[in-house]
């Protein structure tokens, strides 16, 4: 890699790159969001029902909690490279690799949310004559909602933040600019990096606001939680 002489002045040039290329950046950002959206959708389809069912049955805690630890240990570029060798260059390989990254937080939080619902509340519901599915949809899921949202938010931010790396395996998006300094110069690389940061911080803030707006008051988690600390409850 050959870099231009770098100094703080290059930041001014990076901002100029953003101002000069809104169309290019918007197209690339949209590409990145498409890939991210597909990956999160795929991960939700797999991990959400699995986590909810395991939590409801109070089974498989090893799998459900181990998933987030193991998932965390997987380097994103390794997953992207592995699926590149398996599925070839294009959209699917990156979608699957990013979806794998999103599995852990969604699965673990859905499991912990449903599993951790107060036994007394479940007993009371059973006593009132609620069916098994009634207990799941009317007691367990609403109470598990805050943790489920946290899992989805952590997964979504992880995927959006990792998506630029997919450019190294034909994933497109803003990463195309970051990975191609020969064409876009350092100003382009920095400009795209700023956009990537804004994008993932924006997704995080949006999902946080969405979570606050849709979670019933009674089940709100009091403190602002750090996405890094959110899964730290596993303890030793």
């Amino acid at each position: 890699m050959i870099y231009d002489t770098a100094n703080t002045h290059t930041f001014v040039q990076a901002l100029r790159f953003i101002a000069d290329n809104p169309g290019l950046l918007a197209t690339k950002a949209l590409e990145q969001m498409e890939l991210s959206g597909a990956a999160i959708g795929l991960a939700l389809l797999v991990a959400l029902p699995l986590g909810i069912v395991l939590g409801h049955l109070h089974r498989g805690s090893g799998v459900a909690i181990g998933a987030s630890l193991f998932g965390r240990s997987l380097p994103s570029i390794f997953l992207i490279a592995v699926f590149l060798t398996v599925l070839g260059l294009g959209f699917e390989n990156n979608m699957v690799a990013l979806a794998v990254l999103a599995l852990g937080p969604i699965l673990t939080n859905a499991y912990l949310g449903v599993e951790g619902v107060d036994e007394d509340a479940v007993e009371a519901a059973r006593g009132m004559g609620l069916s098994r599915s009634g207990i799941l949809t009317r007691i367990e899921l609403p109470l598990a909602l805050p943790l489920i949202y946290i899992g989805i938010r952590v997964a979504a931010v992880t995927v959006v933040a990792t998506a630029p790396i997919a450019a190294y395996a034909g994933g497109g998006g803003l990463g195309d600019i970051i990975a191609n300094q020969a064409s876009y110069r350092l100003s382009g690389v920095l400009g795209a990096s700023i956009c990537v940061m804004a994008l993932s911080a924006g997704v995080w803030a949006l999902l946080l606001a969405l979570q606050r707006a849709t979670t019933p008051k009674g089940v709100r988690v009091a403190r602002v939680q750090n996405p890094a600390g959110e899964l730290g409850k596993e303890g030793l």
Binding site: V82, V224, G229, L236
Partner: protein, 238 residues
């Protein structure tokens, strides 16, 4: 891109039929290139991680003590920490380049930022977990606030601190692979190198990736054992 300290030699093209045919996994390549590629990359990876986690821990611990003393500081620091954690590593590395160049410093500033924002909330939460009656008892026994902190609150926070360290170490090992986008060091470099070849070279990708995962899992296990060793009271009766 040039390999760490060595000449640019294509990693395959010569060698066994397994290597030239890019089969699923070639042990002979791993053996042949342990000395010039995988071994050094692993050592660099350990170094990158160790520095990042130690510096991050010292900073996070100091900041947590500060936040613990002044509760008002906690919320703003937590929000900043949560925001920093959303920064894509690939972008953060690039954005630091104009200031600190293509250097170890750049990589470590980024990695330390991530360990800091992982460790800080965990340490603060741990410090706050001490039951009020325990604090009262310590005061009643005549301990100064400083003694209460270091003899009661910090020991009680150890499980949370070790829990945070586990996440920080495992995450840093994974994130450090991305450092290869600005510096040809660590286990990420062989992976980036191998996918950039006209045909991605499987053995190099798999061996470097598996080494990174194994390193993370071994460190995690070691921290679990360390956690048990420093909190003997948690095993009483268990």
């Amino acid at each position: 891109m040039t390999a760490a300290g060595g000449p640019v030699i294509p990693n395959f093209g010569s060698g066994s039929s397994c290597v030239t045919g890019d089969h699923l996994f070639c042990w002979d390549w791993v053996k042949q290139h342990w000395g010039d590629t995988l071994g050094p990359a692993l050592a660099q990876h350990v170094e990158l991680t160790a520095i990042a986690v130690s510096v991050g821990f010292v900073l996070a611990f100091s900041l947590a003590l500060l936040a613990h003393r002044r509760r008002r500081a906690e919320q703003p620091i937590s929000i900043v920490a949560a925001l920093v954690y959303t920064f894509p590593s690939i972008a953060l590395f690039q954005l630091l380049v104009p200031f600190t160049g293509l250097t170890y410093t750049t990589v470590e500033i980024a990695l330390v930022s991530y360990t800091l924002v992982i460790l800080f909330p965990n340490i603060v939460a741990g410090l706050e977990a001490a039951p009020p009656e325990v604090i009262e008892a310590a005061r009643g026994m005549g301990l100064t606030p400083r003694q209460t902190l270091f003899r009661v609150e910090v020991p009680l926070a150890l499980p949370a601190i070790v829990g945070g360290l586990r996440i920080a170490v495992v995450s840093t090992i994974a994130i450090a692979t991305i450092a290869a986008t600005i510096l040809p060091k660590g286990l990420g470099f062989p992976i980036f190198y191998a996918i950039a070849l006209p045909t991605p070279f499987k053995t190099e990708i798999y061996s470097a990736g598996i080494l990174a995962i194994a390193l993370a899992l071994v460190c995690d296990r070691a921290l679990v054992l360390l956690g048990r060793a420093v909190t003997p009271w948690t095993r009483v009766g268990g």
